[in-house]
Amino acid sequence: MRNLIAFPLIALAVILQSAVVSRMTLLSGYADLMLILLSAWALQAQVRSAWHWALVAALMVGYVTRLPWLVTAAGYFVVVFIAQLLQRRIWQAPLLAMFSVTIAGTLLMHLMSYAALVFGGSPIPLGDALGFVTLPSLLLNLLFAIPMYAFMRDLAQWVYPGEEVE
């Protein structure tokens, strides 16, 4: 039942992303709050609802963004997949896993966004996209990763109380 926190939390993240984080630019890039949130949530060992959260996030972000909804949804599902994959592999170093998921997720998400926009007719030079958007965004995502991981770890303990984490 406590999993229903996903709806207000993800809605708040979308609002913060659109109203606040999008204004905190580094060159032309900015952090992706939803991607970090989903990464941190999916990395928690006791969490079993990461796919549901990814779906809710894709629906809400897809409502705001001009990007095709399928790109957003596929990006978030891939992030959750990578997070769960890494969570089993390097569970002893959660922050390393968080950083790895953030890096891989950001690069994949941007690659998919870039491909969708270029195929959609937007002439975006790859060098500009990489240098001015992707790398600055990656740096900002890494900065947000640690506090987000700590927050989501506490949230996971609240949503799944009494479950032992190996």
């Binding site: 900015y30 926009l117 001015f132």
Partner: protein
């Protein structure tokens, strides 16, 4: 009778002595003695007063500190409240200045009707240059309507819901606008980029473009009304081996500080796609 005489004599002598002393005192003959007397008197009074004041301070000081602390807290609270009011009023002043500029703009362009809207968000993807405004179809906003500020064109409505709309900025990589170079009297195409820079393309090689040339919408294509200010030419890139010249543009609008915008509500974009010739097999 003898007693009466002696009393009168005694009284007379006393009056004479006192009167003499007064006369001598008024004449200044007793000044040194009176100074010593008053000086010692003032010294004693000062000593007594100082001790009394010290005792009074000793007994009343704790009460004063407590009351001063309470007063200090009150004043600090009042200062905080006033500072908050100052910030609020400053924000209102800024908003009023922006609105006044927009009103001036709308008055100087009476051929259009405007709907003011606040920018409440941006697209979550950094590859896209879109903003979200707080006016939608309930306010008469429709897809394709141009959006301006008093400084110039910023974009057009891309999508609308009941109480909000998404605006594609002219800096978006997918944005392409037919423009008119005022000084050179030539047509060109303004395109955005992922970095937020805008540039001109499709400038004919035989056109002389200079830095500082004003760029306006041309109205061609029916997507935007004509003569909306976009910016100025900063530099030109002209190569003989290329068909067209390109130019870097400085937009007249600061896109990082968009707060309140105007939607031109009496403009309906023309869909010319049926007129575009298509290749038939």
């Amino acid at each position: 009778m003898k007693d009466l005489f002696s009393r009168s004599l005694q009284t007379t002598i006393i009056f004479l002595v006192v009167g003499g002393i007064l006369a001598l005192a008024l004449g200044g003959y007793f000044s040194s003695a009176s100074n010593q007397f008053t000086g010692s008197l003032v010294g004693v009074q000062t000593w007594i007063s100082t001790r009394v004041q010290a005792l009074q301070d000793f007994f009343t000081a704790p009460r004063d500190i407590a009351s001063l602390r309470a007063r200090n807290a009150e004043l600090q609270a009042e200062v905080s409240q006033l500072q908050a009011q100052v910030i609020d009023l400053q924000q209102r002043v800024n908003e009023t200045e922006v609105l006044r500029a927009l009103v001036d703009f709308s008055r100087s362009n009476p051929e259009s009707t405007y709907r003011a809207a606040a920018v409440i968000g941006r697209d979550p993807s950094p590859f896209l240059h879109y903003v979200v405004i707080n006016r939608g179809s309930n306010d008469g906003i429709r897809r394709g309507m141009p959006v301006v500020t008093n400084q110039g064109l910023i974009g057009r409505i891309d999508a609308v819901i009941a109480d909000a709309a998404r605006v594609q900025l002219i800096t978006d990589p997918a944005s392409s606008i037919n423009v008119h170079l005022q000084n050179a009297d030539a047509e060109a195409v303004l395109i955005g980029s992922v970095t937020g820079d805008v540039s001109l393309d499709m400038i004919s090689q035989d056109v002389s473009v200079e830095p500082g040339d004003l760029i306006l919408t041309s109205g061609l294509g029916g997507g935007y009304p004509p003569d909306l200010i976009i910016g100025q030419v900063v530099s030109i890139r002209s190569l003989d081996v290329e068909l067209f010249q390109q130019a870097v543009v400085q937009p007249s609008v600061d896109f990082t500080r968009l707060e309140i915008v105007l939607v031109i509500t009496n403009f309906r974009p023309v869909d010319i796609s049926p007129l575009v010739p298509t290749t038939t097999p």
